[in-house]
Symmetry: C2
Subunit: 230 residues, 2 copies
């Protein structure tokens, strides 16, 4: 009986709200870097202090979700990666739900999803998934991990890396801050639209593109935050 109870509790993830936020942050930071994730990087991402991070990663290391050697940064174990991916799955599915079913704009969903991602119920998230027709991408073009935490990355490059005359489809944003998304709305740029590079300016790295059948010039900062599929 003892065994069964502890097993049951293991199924629905036994991590606190705060622990989940750390796992998710380390997961996101770990995708890009090949080495361990540094204490400072985690602190910055979570807007907390490095000393708080040290405390927490010690605790998470004891729980076997990450590997920690003093002064060496951390990396998630397989269990840690899966746990984090399932939180990301929930975050992104909730974002789709908010946009598709509840009339949220794509710049309004993140903060609410930050809360909803911590709700513990596998039936809940799987039913949301089904209600939405098992979407593969969230409103910002980010891929949604499956029930096992696996996620198939798609080939994509930043608009800023395209050459003159290259074309592609706008499939995601790198920066999904409300201000950037609102800027895109104002310019009537949306995911799914075709893009063609017409000119590139060496001086400030701005580009002239054709998108949504309109010609426009975008700064390097913009081009650096739009993902294009070739």
């Amino acid at each position: 009986m003892q065994k069964i109870i502890s097993l049951h509790h293991k199924l629905e993830s036994m991590f606190s709200h705060s622990e989940e936020n750390y796992l998710k942050a380390i997961y996101h930071l770990g995708i890009t870097s090949v080495n361990g994730v540094s204490t400072n990087a985690i602190a910055k991402k979570l807007s907390t202090k490095a000393s708080s991070v040290t405390d927490m990663i010690k605790k998470l290391a004891e729980k076997k979700v990450l590997i920690y050697k003093k002064y060496q940064g951390v990396s998630l174990t397989e269990e840690g990666k899966k746990t984090a991916a399932l939180i990301v799955r929930k975050h992104r599915l909730w974002e789709v739900f908010l946009v598709e079913k509840l009339n949220f704009n794509w710049d309004e969903v993140h903060d609410v999803a930050e809360q909803l991602e911590h709700i513990k119920s596998s039936k809940l998230i799987n039913e949301i998934d089904a209600l939405l027709g098992f979407p593969k991408f969230d409103p910002h073009g980010d891929p949604i991990p499956d029930t096992n935490g696996n996620l198939h990355l798609i080939e994509k490059k930043l608009l800023s890396t395209l050459q003159i005359n290259e074309t592609g489809i706008c499939i995601g944003v790198k920066d999904s801050s409300a201000s950037f998304l609102q800027f895109l709305d104002k310019q009537q740029i949306a995911l799914g639209q075709e893009v063609e590079v017409l000119e590139k300016e060496d001086f400030d790295d701005s580009m002239t593109i054709k998108i949504n059948n309109k010609k426009m010039t975008v700064s390097n900062k913009i081009a650096n935050n739009l993902y294009i599929q070739k």
Copy 2:
């Protein structure tokens, strides 16, 4: 600027998860009792200790959501009542959502709703409300407070109080534990069905009723947990 920020924070309720649970418990307990709600009653409802309750109600009294005099129990202020009612509103709307949109059975919704009721976003809950067509009752027949926290109580009595030959509609459950709800499912008793009292047994207060066009005998414990509208 300072003013605006603090005003904004006031809009989306500045209570912790734990404070919200206390407010809701006191709200539920306060509906029945005309006097203040006792420390022990709160402790029992929240499965915590009386000393913890004393600590928390002092804090909530300072926040002006309840009135507390030592040894006299507590009662919610108007602000406290509204705050609590809006949490109850969220709980019940989420329950409807889970049943109507996500294929949850009425015995599966409570624990998930206990989590979802703490999500802070007025747009979220109002959109859920709209998606559901502004329901007035949750899956257990409990009324859903409106956006101002007002709730119109409906005339209802327990099945156990009906006399022989009286009829009515089954509109709610008093005990909404999973085991009771599962029992009702097994007996094919559901809300909305017509009930007629055929016999009452003095010895054990059991009743024979006609419900869903079937004759059946129910114990007093059952009859004491089913609400009937005349």
